[in-house]
Symmetry: C2
Subunit: 128 residues, 2 copies
């Protein structure tokens, strides 16, 4: 994936910040973090709360979060199996910084939507 032409550029694709933040890029990470909060939830509970996620993506995203040390995965070897997910300390600290962004999005999404709408309108006008 790299080209590693650059060595000490501040904020390019090889940059560690990208490395962490790219996880936010995928469709489900933020959603799962927000759903989890400070609860402990089982796989199926998460599935129920995030209605339109497929088991594949839920498992995959949880796996990534676990790899990054943001989420803890506790397996109870019972029958039927029982797996509980919760956020680690690192996850919580990340969550703290995530929440303001989500709140911002919630607060300003009307403005964003309006901006998009008026942009489209303006485009249509200029097409005449």
């Amino acid at each position: 994936m790299g080209k590693r032409k650059l060595e000490h550029e501040p904020l390019n694709r090889n940059c560690p910040i990208r490395d962490v933040l790219d996880r936010l890029g995928d469709r489900w990470t933020v959603l799962i973090m927000m759903t989890l909060g400070d609860q402990t939830l089982r796989f199926s509970e998460l599935r129920r709360q995030i209605v339109d996620i497929s088991p594949r993506m839920l498992a995959q995203t949880l796996r990534h979060l676990e790899q990054d040390g943001l989420v803890l995965r506790e397996v109870y070897p019972t029958v039927p199996p029982r797996v509980e997910y919760s956020m680690s300390d690192l996850g919580h600290s990340f969550y703290e910084h995530l929440q303001p962004m989500v709140q911002w999005a919630d607060k300003h999404h009307d403005e964003v939507r309006q901006a998009r709408a008026s942009y489209i309108a303006q485009e249509a006008y200029q097409a005449l």
Copy 2:
């Protein structure tokens, strides 16, 4: 893009928060916002600072940011043409909330990297 099967679920894909936050998902939005800061930069200046971005992606991402009302685009009809980009008030307000996240990423990326490494190690161990 949707299937709009659900109407009033709280945090699903039709949710306004997703609507805004999805922009963070793409490869360049955060990078451009951080590069722009409170400066006013021309297209080529942005290109120079974000070394490994193609003109296509720069234009496209700037277009999206403009559509969302986060970035202002000022065109000076001179020869040669001159276009300046800067952040809007909305953009600045977003930026304020973005920065803590980036700082978090910067501060903790070592822990994340370590978590990933030890995860892989553990995996390899269990494969025996």
